[in-house]
Symmetry: C2
Subunit: 328 residues, 2 copies
Amino acid sequence: VPDARPSLGDIEAAARRLAGSAVRTPLLENHALSARVGRRVLIKAETLQRTGSFKFRGALNRISRIPQADRRHGVVAFSSGNHAQGVAAAAALLGLPATIVMPQDAPAIKRRKTEGFGARIVAYDRRKDDREAMAAAIVAETGATLVRPYDDPDIIAGQGTIGLEIAEQARALGADVGIVLVPCGGGGLIAGIASALTALVPGVRIYAVEPAGWDDTMRSLSAGTRLAADGSVATFCDALLAPMPGALTFSINKDLLSGGFAVSDDEVRNAMAYGFDTLKLVIEPGGAVALAALLAGRPLDKAGAVVVVLSGGNVDPTQYARCLETLD
Amino acid sequence: VPDARPSLGDIEAAARRLAGSAVRTPLLENHALSARVGRRVLIKAETLQRTGSFKFRGALNRISRIPQADRRHGVVAFSSGNHAQGVAAAAALLGLPATIVMPQDAPAIKRRKTEGFGARIVAYDRRKDDREAMAAAIVAETGATLVRPYDDPDIIAGQGTIGLEIAEQARALGADVGIVLVPCGGGGLIAGIASALTALVPGVRIYAVEPAGWDDTMRSLSAGTRLAADGSVATFCDALLAPMPGALTFSINKDLLSGGFAVSDDEVRNAMAYGFDTLKLVIEPGGAVALAALLAGRPLDKAGAVVVVLSGGNVDPTQYARCLETLD
C-alpha cells in the first residue's frame, strides 16, 4: 500500500469543493454533558449534514473528481445506507445518474431516502450475494464509476474536512482539544479526521469507537496488522458492519490513532436516549457509539476538551421509539 | 403601559451578561427543507439552548439584575415547565435558591429536570388554584424575587439576544432575511426577537405562530387591543397556553409584528416528525409551531430567507414516540 494519507492540502482542496454544498455542521456544547463527564465536551453534530450523515462529504469530493468524459456513465455504490444516500445526493447535485447496490434488509428509511434522491436501487441478499461483484458487473456493463465507501483517497480527504472544521471551531470556542472519539466502520471517517487533526492539533489523541464484536479496527491497531471482525455478534449499529479495516484506511489509522473502544448495544441505546433527552439531537445507532463510549466512562488518558463525533441520524422511527423506552 | 420595548443597547447588555453561560445556538440550514419550501430557510435551533429551551436566556438576564442584598432570599416562578427549568438553572448558576410553582399535570420530564437543578417544586391544580396568588404568597413570606415568565423588560431583553444572533449569523451565511416565524405564548420571545431584528434588519416581517384556539396574540394584533385566548380548545402545545398576551409584550408586539398564524395539533405533529426524519432535531410541540406553519404552507408575503425559530425540545418520550407514528 502506498502512503495513502491525505495531506492538509488535499483536505483543504476537498473543503473548497464542498463549500456551499455541504453543511458546515456546528460544534456544539452541552453544559449538562460536560458536567456529567467532568470535563469540557464538544459535539461535532454531523447528524445535521446533508443526507443526515457525514457520507455526503466524501461522496461529493470523490464524484467531483470524475473526469468530465466519464460523468454521463454515472456512478455505482454498494452500501448499507448512509453511503448510499451520500452518493445519491452528491450525484444528483452534480447531475450524474447513480445506481446503489443495497441490502434487502437495510432500514426502510435509508432505502426510501436514497430513492428520493433519484437513484436506482439494486437489492442484494447479505447471506448469499457478493455485493462487490454485483457492483463490478454494473461498472463493466455501463462504464459507471465505482464510488467506494471508504477505501479511496478522495473519500478519505472529503471526510477529513470534518477534522478541519473541528480544529477551527474548537479554536473559536477557546477549547484545547485533548481527545477525539470517532465512530468507526471501514475507517474512512476517522482516517480523514485524524489526517487533518494530527496535522493541526499537536499531541491530540484520536480513538476509534466500534460495536462490540465488530471492533476489528481496535484489534488490528493492537496487532499492528489488519484483522477481520468477529462478525458473529449481532448489533443494531447497521452503519458500522464493515468486515475488516480498509487497506488504505488502516495504513493511515495504524500511524495516527491512539487506540479504540468497543461498546455494547445497550450502551448505544442509552446514548441515543441521552441524545433525545438532553442533547435534543436524533442519533442513529452507528452514529452514537462515540457518545456511548464517553457516557459509559471509558478511560480517557489525556487532559483537555473531548470531541465526540456524532456521525449520522438516520434511524427508523420504530427502532428509535424502542430506544426511548429506556427513559421511562 | 410605558414604552417597554428594549433598546438595542439593552439587548446587547443582556448578551454580555449571557456570554459564556448561554449557548450561542446555531442557525442551521437544511437543503431538503429549503427545497421543499422553495426558498432559503434558516433554522434557529434554540432547542440546543441550555435546559432545552430559550427560557434560560431571559431567566439568566433577569436574575443577574437582582440586587446583591436580595439574592439570598432567592427567586420564585410559576411555569408549565420551560420557564421553570430556565429559572432553576439560572438561579443555580448564580447561587440563588429557587422555588417553582408548577401544574400537577406538567410533563414528567419537565418536572424531573427542574428538580435536577436543585429547585423546590410547589404543585398546583390548573382547575382550582391561582398560581399567581400562590407565587405572591411565597414572595410575601420569604422575600424572594418573582421571575415572571414574559411580562418583564429584563426577560424580554434576554430573549432578544436570539434576535441579535439571528442577524449576525444570517449575515455570516450571506442570507437576506425577509420573514421570521416565532412560536408565541405570552409573547416574550417574539417581543425580544422583534425588538432586536426590526432595529437590525430593515423591512423584516415577523409573525407570531400559535396553537389554534390559543391564537390570542394573532387576534389581538388584528383587533389592536389585548383579547383573551378562547382556551376551550385542547392542544398538546403545553408551552404555549398563556391565557392572553402580556401587557408589556403586547405593547411591543402590536407595533413590531406583521401578523400571526394558527396551527392545528396535527400540523404540529407533522412538524415534529419532520424534525426527527429530516432535520434530526428533537422538537417539543410548542417549539415546533413555527416550523408547522412553514411546512403547512401558510402564505409568506415577502421575499428573502425565512427564519424559523425552534423554541424548545423538552418533550416526554412516549408523547414523542406517538408523533413518530405519523411516519409509518
